[in-house]
Symmetry: C2
């Protein structure tokens, strides 16, 4: 079965539609396709990021123990290692005892199931070619790319294509031509507010590679900690880190590890503000006299470098000389955000310096500082990257401005000829939905930029700020939502169907843990710790899990205003920390309510009723647990809210089923109750409130 029905499209939702249509028109080999969404899903591989162009047929490349891979790469090379990882993962998922000794021998040959070929070794710089072509026939797979980076990207796509039917595992036949929309697809990891051990960085690099991200933006200095060994200024790490820093050997280890995955490592040293940790060892470069000690709180603080002291620039000259040789990336990020000028105002020498140099205000003073830093970075062949605030007229055009303020700033920058990166809208520490991040486009369709200007927008970065994450929870704040951002940055702009994104996201999320990230598995661990040594029976644990699965941490920065002062020593092990930032279960429940309200089927009614009953039962059990276990005491009110919420939901369902309209007093009363229920408890919100709101709205607007 070689020649076959072929389709070509961009949107995975269309793909689903076409294949479903196909199901109805064509006789099926093996007859395994099931005419239900879930059955159909299993036939449409969950590719993420979705490729630029894809054609699939109904043919299958069958995988057995003879599956082998080969190409031009020698042991030790990037692709050689990537193929070995691919084979381990393929074997891991299928349980097949692959016969090839892929750790030692990947010589090319006509008998190889998978043959790859590339033209040259890709450089880890922006605008390097990462495209690839993947062709799968029923007896051969070919992967070709201009650079080895393309091979790496293609291997990830191929693994995502892995499918199964009654006969075994297979890859669907077809052809994929793929290339990224943006060249800079990053994840910022903040190792400062909470130190992230090496293995956290490594496992997240592997997960990044799985969704084709290519820049680790490593935030390495902050008020709370200076995290790199400096041999030139050893008091930086000795006194500025509580002993929690990366040695230079470890930095090199990470850079090599990332390079093997085709990922750049760009360091950020945030100056002149956000710099308390530097001054513990070197107070002489601060704008106010010391002594300084490490900041434990979170926010924007006063300590700031002294831009009027010539010694400051001598210090940075030596410092950046050292760091420029440690980090090979052509870019170096200097932060530059949120400078508090209090110490500048208080220091008469700085004030005198400003007068002398005609620096009208603090912005001008920071601009002066940045120009000096730029001079130093240029000397050491680094291009400067900074947050919005670094912009000033006259800066060279090879710098990159990273926007935390918004897309408009990015567009304005591009109009002025500056390269930019979007991070506004990708702040994954704010616990917002994947949908919100997904629909946030670095170049909105209505941007009216010229093609030339559009090229200046290099891409974007998800930012994992670490005030409220520990090594144990950080993965669950990054994944799976960052996979949706990865798709936004890689896939064609037109790929933006939200429901289909979520369908694929839930599959990819499970696959990501294969790379070592722990976003799913650590939840149970955290719930077990919350239960402590107390006698908690399985039903109670299940109830706790049910509650955690439909709860979300309060959004944005609201956790800081819930009555507890967070510091870098505060526990991040509570109920709120074990919640996922976005509840996919709640999303399903809310969708179910929507479906019921619009379709009014008895089946949906029953499902919804059962769900409410289950939630009500769970709320009772958790209430009881919270009375017994001190660390869960704060969860009691949340459980009580849930109980009341589902009670409103159930009563609404009764009205809707019996087609009786409740009195206006009742409705008003319930809505008032909902407003109460929406107030955070235990720093969490119930993510299923929209379901009940939809039912109430249905009772109000469209009484049957």
């Amino acid at each position: 079965m070689l020649a076959c029905f072929k389709t070509k499209f961009l949107n995975p939702a269309w793909l689903l539609v076409v294949i479903l249509a196909q199901v109805m028109l064509l006789p099926l080999v093996g007859g395994a396709m099931i005419n239900s969404p879930s059955g159909a899903d299993s036939q449409v591989p969950a590719l993420m990021p979705f490729p630029a162009s894809i054609e699939l047929t109904q043919d299958k490349f069958r995988i057995d123990e003879k599956f082998s891979a080969g190409g031009q790469e020698q042991p030790g090379g990037r692709v050689f290692k990537a193929v070995a990882r691919f084979m381990f993962r393929l074997s891991g998922r299928t349980g097949l005892f692959l016969e090839q000794d892929f750790l030692a021998d990947q010589a090319p040959g006509p008998k190889r199931s998978l043959s790859y070929q590339y033209e040259k070794t890709g450089r880890l710089i922006p605008n390097e070619d990462e495209s690839y072509i993947l062709e799968i026939s029923d007896n051969r797979i070919e992967l070709r790319a201009p650079t080895d980076l393309g091979i790496l990207r293609g291997l990830e796509t191929l693994l995502q294509l892995l499918s199964a039917d009654d006969r075994g595992y297979y890859f669907p036949c077809g052809r994929i031509e793929d290339r990224p929309r943006f060249t800079w697809r990053g994840l910022l990891i903040d190792s400062c507010r909470h130190f992230m051990p090496l293995e956290v960085i490594k496992r997240n690099l592997l997960a990044m590679a799985a969704v084709k991200l290519n820049v680790l933006h490593w935030h390495l200095s902050e008020d709370q900690g200076f995290r790199v060994e400096s041999r030139t200024f050893p008091e930086l790490h000795r006194l500025g880190s509580d002993g929690l820093y990366y040695t230079q050997d470890q930095i090199r280890e990470i850079i090599q590890f990332a390079s093997d995955l085709g990922i750049r490592v760009m360091p950020e040293f945030d100056i002149p503000g956000h710099s308390t940790s530097w001054f513990v060892g070197y107070p002489e470069y601060a704008s106010a006299p010391g002594p300084y000690r490490l900041e434990r709180g979170f926010g924007v603080f006063h300590p700031v470098f002294n831009p009027a002291h010539p010694g400051t620039y001598k210090f940075f000259d030596r410092f950046f000389r050292e760091m420029s040789s440690l980090f090979p990336d052509p870019y170096l990020h200097i932060g530059g955000d949120e400078v508090e000028a209090v110490h500048w105002k208080e220091n008469p020498r700085i004030q005198a310096f400003m007068k002398k140099h005609n620096l009208a205000d603090n912005h001008a003073l920071q601009a002066y500082f940045n120009k000096e830093i730029l001079r130093i970075l240029t000397k050491y062949k680094k291009k400067m990257v900074g947050w919005d605030e670094i912009y000033q007229p006259g800066l060279p055009k090879d710098i990159v401005i990273q926007s935390w303020r918004g897309t408009q700033a990015l567009i304005d920058g591009a109009r002025r000829g500056y390269q930019g990166l979007l991070s506004n809208g990708y702040y994954i520490d704010l616990c917002e939905t994947a949908e919100r991040h997904y629909l946030n486009d670095p170049i909105p369709p209505d941007s009216q930029l010229t093609e030339e200007e559009k090229k200046l927008i290099l891409g974007g970065e998800a930012t994992m700020w670490a005030e409220l994450v520990s090594p144990e929870t950080v993965d669950s704040r990054i994944w799976p939502r960052t996979a949706a951002i990865a798709e936004r940055l890689w896939s064609p702009q037109e790929v933006r169907e939200v429901n289909d994104m979520y369908r694929r996201l839930s599959v990819i999320s499970v696959q990501l843990e294969e790379n070592g990230v722990q976003h799913l598995r650590n939840q149970d661990l955290m719930l077990r710790r919350l239960a402590g040594n107390s006698p908690v029976n399985p039903a109670e644990m299940a109830a706790l899990k049910t509650l955690v699965r439909i709860s979300e941490p309060v959004k944005g920065y609201a956790r800081h205003s819930q009555g507890r002062k967070y510091t870098s020593l505060a526990p991040l092990t509570r109920f709120v920390d074990s919640c996922f930032p976005e509840s996919l279960e709640a999303r399903e429940i809310n969708r179910l309510a929507e479906a019921y309200v619009s379709g009014r089927t008895h089946q949906d009614w029953k499902k919804l009723k059962a769900t409410f009953d289950e939630l009500a039962a769970a709320s009772l059990l958790v209430s009881s647990l919270s009375g017994r276990i001190p660390v869960l005491r704060e969860v009691g009110p949340l459980a009580d809210n849930l109980k009341e919420l589902v009670s409103i939901g159930s009563r609404s369902l009764s009205h809707l089923a019996s087609k009786t309209k409740p009195g206006p007093g009742w409705l008003k009363n319930q809505k008032n109750r909902l407003e109460e229920i929406k107030k955070p408890r235990a720093e969490c919100q119930l993510a299923v409130i929209p379901a009940v709101e939809k039912l109430l709205a249905a009772l109000e607007d469209k009484p049957n």
Copy 2:
């Protein structure tokens, strides 16, 4: 409430009994104690290893956010770091926002809740003092020890004492005097058959510290891989490891990490056999001509060093000079086990050498080799450790012989004046029960050794051989069972009540994951991967989990004879790998059957029946899954066996309930069926077979 009922005992089971007795006699503060085993359990902290001496009162030291710790240690010191970890863990378990900046300031003072004091810094050598005294009153905790190592051990005990009641968290008041029974309490990790990345070693070191183990025996060379960077002989790691080795910096990092936990790191370089990986780069020191390539299979292989070649000893002189300076431990393990003499026999020069030196047989030749190695080690101030085979008359008395062959060999050694370690009976790779390891005593009560001879038995080591473990599964093979071995090696010989050990083990197991080990949480990850992208509903996943939780991998080395040839590239991601070595759930079911058979209560009958029904339902769902998901196909027969097993169980229950005796033909038939059911399927066995066997036996022997 200061003066209070006090008890003093060794056995934690007695403690339980006495506290239960106390419950009935004394009025209780707060009245929270529940008069049921689980309620009582929550009042008896799960200490493991159980201390040498313990007195607890009913007073409570209440923990709030003002809890603080202080002592003599300066930042960077071993105890300073241990206290910081203690505070993080305490805060993590209780959710308390502790106010002390324990990362910066642990100065002593009268206001400290916890004060510690030690006399001197302990050295990481055998027989160093690890004892401590812990005194908890209702307003103050004092921890004193001769060395800082004792403080580390005491902190772990204190954390295990953490308890909760309605009012909050507390430590029970009392006094613990504790010291280890054996000075050498080790875990062998084999990084060769499967490479174990640095984080695997680190998290297991943390878990070791939690149960007071103090030696990491690091198996670093094998047929399958040479895992240490050698600067003297760089082809060892370059050609002998597939690129999977530890750099010397990483080795030093682990040694420092372990030292901070009071754990020694003893390297093992296994020679003259088990040495294929050395010869890939240096075939000239082998007994047969090369070339050699890395061994992928498992077993005992022919490659062996050439003891007749003078170059061999020059090589080892330089090699051990390098490794002696890299590893500070006074001991160095040379393996010495399982030498195959085939290549010695085939090499005429070696045969001639033997004649010339009057070496009668291969044992004599190995003895010659060992003496030369001993000379080299002595030159570099290392004491030699080796497996049983290294013994020969005339060896100096400061060597240590590690027994994989058995306790008798150890006793024989002690009689001859040699120091010994027990590993026979602690082979945790064999997937045997914690009970079996727990009751295996290095000095059995009937040993008849003199006190002096007993002192020569330094302790023991659990051995995590890595043929069938990956970084993903290795933790579940080590933990929690190794905690039971840790208790055997630390606690008084009289502490050996098995049921109480299991009660405490299940609590400690959950706590261990706080240290990063993943023995519990990775199971779900593995089950999710097994389900793959297939549409698997929650009930099916729950059924799969039910089956996995009552299944165990086949014991001993039987996995190698189940029809698949394992290599270091084989997948370790199948159903069997996701099973725990010992099913604690199955143990409970088997105990329930035992309780029913002896007590014949209707309550036990109902529980057992419900359990069988649940297992039957799960077996049906898994049967269906195994038809749809290729990697689960092998599990179908296991599920079918379970279905039949519980059917026999249920029918037996019916007979027992109705007090009808089945015909002898039926019984015989069922027993024949059980023999069939006992045969491994999917390399697993059903761990609940004993429950049904007990019911059948009851039907047979004691018809009511």
